[in-house]
């Protein structure tokens, strides 16, 4: 079981390394969207501090959305997906591997760059730690839930827009607890509660979402 997951992860990471433009464009999108807000709002530290968690999280959702349409589309186009579907192990495990690889390529870089971007919003040290942790813990859920949307819209024309409509509403809980963790830390309530709920969302979506996505993929392959 672990063997197939690691095989998928290592293949997808190798492909991502050969096609770095994809990783870099999502990361730069995140950086630019987040940087536009301080420029647009102007030098009002109180307002910026208040806005920071929401802005960072919304930008993280959108940056994750950017790479979702290609999660299965490339494998579908060149026939690899068929081969994966008839391999002698459950398709859900393959999708689990792809979700983990997607997070390593699209979610993890966002968490690593977030503290740097947070400085633009005059966030305190503890708020920076909180935003980094919340993005680190929350983004795997985005990849997991996003895989369902990517599988359901596979092979449809204009699938990219449709994924956003399907998936963004499902991202709302992650957004609320992710941004909430930072607010709670800043106001002194402690962000642990929010982070625990975020971790629960992540575990649930890594555990269950791949199987739902696998069922959708089988329908797309018929």
């Amino acid at each position: 079981m672990l063997k197939i997951i690691t095989a998928v992860i290592s293949r997808d990471l190798k492909l991502a390394m050969r096609r770095q433009a994809d990783i870099v464009s999502a990361l730069f999108f995140f950086i630019i969207v987040v940087s536009l807000f301080p420029l647009g709002i102007g030098p009002e530290p109180d307002l910026l501090r208040k806005l920071a968690p929401g802005v960072l999280w919304v930008a993280a959702l959108l940056a994750t959305m950017l790479s979702l349409p290609r999660l299965f589309a490339d494998d579908h186009r060149d026939g690899t997906l068929e081969q994966l579907a008839i391999a002698p192990h459950p398709l859900g495990l393959v999708v689990t591997g792809k979700v983990i690889a997607h997070w390593l390529v699209s979610g993890l870089p966002l968490a690593l760059i977030a503290p740097v971007l947070g400085v633009q919003f005059d966030l305190s040290a503890e708020a920076l730690v909180a935003i980094t942790l919340s993005i680190l813990i929350g983004t795997p859920a985005l990849s997991g839930i996003g895989a369902i949307g990517a599988a359901l819209t596979l092979g449809l024309r204009g699938g990219g827009v449709l994924i956003s409509l399907l998936v963004l509403p499902l991202y709302i809980p992650v957004l609320i607890f992710g941004a909430g963790a930072v607010d709670a830390t800043v106001t002194g309530l402690g962000g642990e509660g929010h982070l625990s709920l975020l971790a629960a969302l992540t575990f649930a979506s890594i555990g269950f979402a791949p199987w739902a996505a696998a069922a959708a993929l089988k329908i797309a392959l018929e």
């Binding site: 998928v8 293949r11 050969r18 186009r77 008839i86 192990h89 392959l221 018929e222």
Partner: protein, 202 residues
Amino acid sequence: MLEADNLECVRGDRRLFAGLGFKLDAGELLYLQGKNGSGKTSLLRMLIGLLPPEAGSIRWKGEAINSDEYRAELCYLGHLNAIKEELTPLENLLAAARLADEELSDDDALDALEQVGLAGREDLACKYLSQGQKRRVALARLVKEKRPLWILDEPFVALDMAAVDWLSGIISGHLQRGGLAVMTTHQKVNIAAGSVRELRLS
């Protein structure tokens, strides 16, 4: 070993075929023939379990085919090559084997690539190869393939004459070892097999 009974295929609101059945034993080759759009690829996709038949059943060694055991004995080559443009032929072969849960050593993979005439191009990304060479990368899987049931969709497309002869030899060898093969093709090819069955879809 492979039996199909009373299969019916409906795509959209058109019925492509109905009441189709066949039986294939070790060492036998099934030739699927028919016009474009007569349902050859649909039938192959039923045999690999991706397309559930509208009616009828398919059995492998007497068991229904929706099991991991069946998929572990199945090798399918579609009309898409299933190779990654960014990876080299060697990486493609090794990755495909790992994902299909097959054992394939680096030496075996290199040997297979040499046999399909890609020696010296193992380290070139597949996007720089020609159509025929990409097809050869996909076919290199068959060289070391030990699984008993081969299902091949138009395996001779984009190949030159020498490669067609080579591939016919590979398929004959597989059949002589007691394997089974189901394939579609529009070309005339000579495959030495104990018994060749033909099925014409119309």
